[in-house]
Amino acid sequence: MARHRSFGDISYGFVVGGLATLAVFIIVTPVVVVLMTSFTEGRSLKFPPTGFSFGWYEQLFDASQSRQIHKAAFNSLEVACFSTLFGVVLATLASLGLARDRRKMARFADNFFMSPLVLPGITFGLAALVYFSTLGFRPSLDLMIAGHLMVTMPFILRTTTASLSQLDPALLDSSRSLGASWLYTLRRVTLPLIAPGIAAGAFLAFMASIDNVPVSLFLSNARTDTLPIRMWGMMEATLDVRVAAVSGVLIASAFLLMLIMEWTVGLTRRMRD
């Protein structure tokens, strides 16, 4: 179709294309710059980095020099694993109970459980601190798991509910009419079909917990701080180049994790839909 390209069409391509290129540039550049900087030989975050070395990574992985960072990283992993685990159990059960319930009360409960996604995290963080101190608890990883559970559980609830509502009810009816019990249907029909949804939600919840700042900020102390809080401290005090090395490790892990999730459950497709 050889249509005459008017001035308008050319300007459209120019403006939209230009702004889109700028968007990709702004999204990608900082990630690339941090990766480059983390391999610097120098002692500052100068750009372009001077020389090439693994020096900062060696320091980062040195058990005695970076003990506190390692401790924080393990705290982060522990909190993320347990809060995701509890989240999967509680949110999957709740979705099974509510996803196909059309009653007003069920719809309301479903939306209500999503409210941590809307509430500013810092407000819940402060509320949790006031609440747990009033009850007499001291800062611990357990409290952090409880706090993270509340703000990450909605991710699992959302993807699981979405999978359940796409499930063909005829499958459940036929399973039942063939004499299968509710539990057997759940185990052999429902769960296998919604497993990718649960997995995608668990992945998002896990990442949200690893990344969480507002709740950890209020519920952690020097002994129980998580990686983001420790990194924040390192950035606020002196600009430690090890932060670049930590960032490099996190970028590489996020990249790998995403490839894995893409292959197994089609994560980007699920996030888009």
């Binding site: 459209y12 294309g17 230009g18 889109a20 968007a23 702004i26 999204i27 990608v28 550049t29 900082p30 990630v31 710059v33 941090v34 900087t37 500052s44 975050l45 100068k46 750009f47 372009p48 509680l90 949110a91 059960l93 709740a94 099974l96 109970g97 319930d101 409960a109 459980f113 409210s115 809307v118 500013p120 810092i122 407000t123 819940f124 402060l126 509320a127 006031v130 609440y131 009033t134 509340m150 609830l157 509710w182 990344d211 700042v213 507002p214 209020f218 990194m231 924040w232 950035m235 606020e236 670049a244 960032s247 996190l250 970028i251 990249f255 995403m258 980007t268 996030m271 888009r272 839909d273």
Partner: protein, 303 residues
């Protein structure tokens, strides 16, 4: 009439058939599976927030004397109004910049072949999975005195002295634009890729320019995605504590920093509670207004 149809309706309640009675009971009880979550939610989410509201109605930081003192103190100080205004304005500015460059990117995404779409989606989602702290740190490296922007501009001879970009609102808005971008793009792309491509072809075949197609066909139809993206970006950028404190520094004060100072530095919990409830109310009321406008605009379209 309803009674007679119910007897033949296989999906209706069939409680009077003995073989199905137990099953009907089981199905009725299915909602109880939500009870464990409901209990945890009540104990760990609802109760703390109610307590926070309660604490805000105390006058002193020892939480002994009930009253409206903290509310009066917080809203009696003109400085706090400025902080609230600056916080909301930061959100608005970030929303504007993410729309300005994010929307065109979503348009380009639509025109790409499927393989490139996957690559672009990957690029868009990856930053979302990177810690906010890492993304914030990245901008320190890019915007710093010896950072990439200053080095490039000096190298090109555009400036002689390094620009001060960190600890300015400009630098903060640029950084937040990248940090919040996935939140704008995902709902946009989700809505846009469901648009019928025939609509665009029809518009072009009828002689509309691409600009006209954009503003009269694509933009109105993608409104739900655009509004959703704006809401997410607004909510996230107004409460982005780490980015605000690290890139904005201590001279740019936004509500999250104020809450942090009052609660963990000064230990005045009632005042921190008032500040954090003000944050919730101001952010959520903007969000409610935006989503109301969004619903009305898409309502016009169908109505």
């Amino acid at each position: 009439m309803s009674v007679s149809t119910a007897a033949y309706d296989p999906s209706g309640p069939a409680g009077h058939l003995p073989s199905r009675a137990g099953e009907a009971k089981l199905r009725l009880d299915e909602w109880q599976l939500a009870l464990p979550l409901a209990l945890a939610f009540a104990a760990l989410f609802v109760a703390p927030l109610l307590l926070l509201v309660g604490v805000s109605f105390f006058n002193d930081d020892k939480i002994t004397q009930a009253g409206f003192g903290s509310w009066i103190k917080f809203f009696g100080d003109p400085f706090n109004y400025k902080v609230i205004g600056d916080t909301l304005l930061l959100g608005v500015k970030t929303v504007c910049t993410t729309v300005l460059i994010g929307y065109p990117l979503a348009l380009v995404y639509l025109d790409l072949p499927a393989r490139l779409q996957r690559v672009l989606l990957f690029i868009i989602v990856l930053p979302l999975l990177l810690s906010v702290v890492v993304r914030t740190f990245a901008w320190i490296v890019v915007l710093g005195r010896e950072g990439m922007v200053n080095q490039v501009l000096q190298g090109l001879g555009i400036i002689s002295e390094p620009l001060r970009l960190l600890q300015t609102e400009l630098g903060l808005v640029i950084s937040l634009t990248q940090i919040e971008m996935p939140l704008m793009l995902l709902p946009l792309i989700s809505v846009m890729s469901r648009l019928d491509p025939n609509l665009r072809d029809a518009s072009a075949a009828l002689g509309a320019s691409r600009w006209r197609t954009l503003f009269t066909v694509i933009l109105p139809l993608s409104m739900p995605g655009l509004v959703a993206g704006c809401l997410l970006v607004f909510a996230s950028s107004t409460t982005a504590f780490i980015s605000q404190t690290v890139i904005g520094g201590v001279r740019l004060i936004y509500l999250p920093l104020l809450i942090w100072q009052q609660s963990l530095v000064v230990y005045n919990w009632p005042l921190a509670a008032v500040a954090s409830l003000s944050l919730v109310v101001s952010v959520l009321s903007v969000i409610a207004a935006l989503s109301y406008l969004g619903r009305r605009s898409s309502g016009h379209l169908h109505g």
